[in-house]
């Protein structure tokens, strides 16, 4: 079965289906539940290598749920249930033989709220390296990660200070440094700028564009301008309230320019024009 056929089956056909071999992660959701509540229904979201894939949609559309399914973060919620599969380099990460801990080591995550650990800036960045038993030059890797996250100059003289002593924008970049220190394959970013001011937001966006050279990024954003600024591909999720509850689903997915300028679905057009949110 080729990519186009699969997506048609999922009800989200894309005329611009990316070439199969560039897809790092292929998320094929059948159903996602929280307890009895059907949160997301049939949606297929391929994530391309070295691209930023943006997830947009109104609140409650399941975009965060889908993102968090990509590294099994939702497993922390006891009532969460995933039906479908998410292949990562050909392997289904929801396979019984796969340990979610391993998945999360290759697929890093940056959260909505900056969440540095209550330890020094240095130890925050070194956390993942130590966790993975890194034996090389720790200082070098910490510096590299902080430079990669564009906050080295601000923190290089106070690496021993608490990560919590930084401003919100700096904390978020510290969290990005922490996530990229181990050089994971894929970086999931769940509204990483929603707690930041416009200047800090710009810096993180510039950073994302630099990071995609090395990493593959999936980005949830409630900010459509942000999607147009950074995302190569955009997935628009909608909410279906016809069954009496709110179920999210993928409405359409395609190159960002096409989604914003020439959407195939009427709903997408209404959303990107700001007619509902």
């Amino acid at each position: 079965m080729n990519a186009t056929a699969e997506m048609t089956a999922a009800g989200a056909a894309s005329a611009n289906a990316p070439a199969r071999n560039n897809i790092v992660m292929d998320c094929q959701i059948d159903k996602v539940f929280y307890g009895d509540f059907l949160a997301v229904r049939a949606s297929t979201v391929p994530i391309e290598k070295n691209k930023i894939t943006g997830f947009i949609g109104p609140s409650g559309c399941g975009k965060s749920t889908v993102l968090r399914s990509l590294n099994r973060m939702n497993d922390l919620i006891p009532i969460f249930r995933f039906e479908g599969k998410v292949t990562y380099h050909g392997q289904d990460i929801y396979d019984k033989k796969v340990d979610p801990v391993v998945v999360r080591r290759y697929i890093g995550m940056v959260f909505q709220q900056p969440n540095p650990f209550a330890m020094s800036i240095y130890d925050n960045v070194a956390f993942g390296l130590r966790l993975n038993g890194f034996k090389g030059n720790l200082d070098e890797r910490v510096e590299k990660a902080l430079k990669g996250a564009a906050c080295w100059n601000e923190v290089k003289d106070k690496l021993k200070n608490s990560g919590l002593s930084l401003s919100g924008g700096q904390q978020q970049r510290l969290c990005i440094a922490r996530a990229i220190a181990t050089e994971p394959d894929v970086l999931l970013m769940d509204e990483p700028c929603s707690a930041l001011d416009p200047i800090a937001t710009r810096r993180v966006e510039e950073l994302m564009l630099e990071l995609k050279e090395k990493y593959t990024i999936a980005l949830v954003t409630h900010n459509m301008q942000q999607a147009t600024r950074v995302a190569d591909t955009t997935a628009f999720f909608g909410v279906d309230i016809s069954q009496g509850s709110r179920t999210g689903y993928l409405v359409e997915m395609g190159p960002t320019r096409q989604i914003f300028e020439d959407p195939r679905e009427k709903l997408t057009g209404e959303y990107v024009r700001g007619e509902f949110s």
Binding site: L76, V103, F111, F117, A118, M119, G128, L164, S165
Partner: protein
């Protein structure tokens, strides 16, 4: 208080207005009561210290600091020293802190880190807090009639096989430091566990997410992230538990053997300051009462110092790595 009420502003048709005189009076009254209550507590502490200090002064001028280093307590010869009691107090409390601390923190981890379903965890927590409701004297009786007979074979075997280790240097004939410390550990368990539970509950969910998001296993998340983040709260739990152990009286008076000796052995009878006070006061003559007052002052000083050190350590730990939540 500001008395300008913007009376010149036309406010016809609006319900907005300044608080009434009654509101202000209530505010002032409430603030006064709060201040009074706070001042009363401070005054009470100062009064107790002065009162005990005053009663202890005659003994202090008579025995001086030698009181703290002498090991004899003899009413007939008028020789009074409390070194064995200081030793027993610190040693038994430290043992209780180690045992109760390890179990208390382990219980807190078990109750907060998703090992149990929420409802079951609440039931467990209530049961552990109920331990605090058991009267001290009941713990003492339980120690005498259950724990000591239970421990004796094990203790004597340990003494027989490993007698060369100072901790097992004597046999357990009845009351002793070991059983007393064990009971003390159980008594401080609810304090340590429930305050540690609160500390771990206060770690924001986003910190836990960050840990798992980095790919930690459950134990890595607990040991490397959750415990350090809740560190100052857990430290507070341990300090409070230690403070409680230092001052505990009844169970210890029943279990420790009230014997003036300094020994590392866990099975040797010993004595603590609180137990000395409790067992000697009822029959003490005026001379001994003065010496006991001095001993009480020393106990008060030890507990105050321990709590002050604990608070200082907590403050240091908090200032270093915790921000507002």
């Amino acid at each position: 208080m500001a008395s300008h009420h913007f009376d010149h502003v036309d406010r016809s048709g609006s319900v907005s207005g300044p608080p009434s005189a009654g509101d202000y009076a209530f505010d002032r009254g409430f603030r006064g009561i709060a201040w009074l209550s706070a001042a009363f507590i401070l005054a009470l502490v100062v009064y107790i210290v002065i009162e005990i200090g005053g009663k202890a002064l005659p003994a202090f001028s008579e025995y001086g600091f030698g009181f703290l280093t002498s090991t004899t307590w003899n009413v007939q010869t008028g020789q009074f020293g409390i070194l064995p009691e200081i030793w027993g107090t610190l040693y038994s409390s430290l043992l209780a802190l180690i045992i109760g601390g390890v179990f208390g923190v382990a219980i807190a981890i078990f109750l907060t880190q998703d090992f149990l379903h929420g409802h079951l965890a609440a039931v467990f927590r209530t049961i552990i807090e109920l331990l605090a409701a058991i009267p001290s004297v009941v713990y003492g009786l339980w120690g005498i009639y259950v724990l000591i007979p239970l421990l004796r074979p094990l203790a004597n075997w340990l003494h027989g096989e490993f007698g060369f280790i100072p901790f097992f240097g004597t046999s357990l004939s009845g009351p002793g430091l070991g059983p007393a410390a064990l009971v003390l550990a159980i008594m401080i368990l609810p304090t340590v566990a429930s305050i540690s539970v609160d500390a771990l509950h206060q770690v924001p969910y986003k910190v836990k997410e960050a840990a798992y998001g980095m790919g930690t296993t459950r134990w890595e998340a607990i040991l490397k992230v959750m415990l350090p983040t809740a560190g100052s709260g857990i430290l507070a739990a341990l300090v409070l538990g230690f403070g409680r152990a230092l001052g505990e009286t009844m169970a210890l008076a029943m279990l420790i053997g009230n014997s003036n000796q300094i020994s590392l052995s866990l099975f040797s009878p010993a004595n603590t300051l609180a137990a000395l006070l409790a067992s000697s006061f009822p029959e003490a003559g005026p001379v001994e009462v003065r010496a006991l007052m001095y001993a009480a002052l020393v106990l008060l000083a030890i507990t105050l110092i321990v709590n002050a050190i604990g608070l200082a350590v907590m403050k240091f730990a908090t200032r270093k790595f915790e921000a507002e939540r």
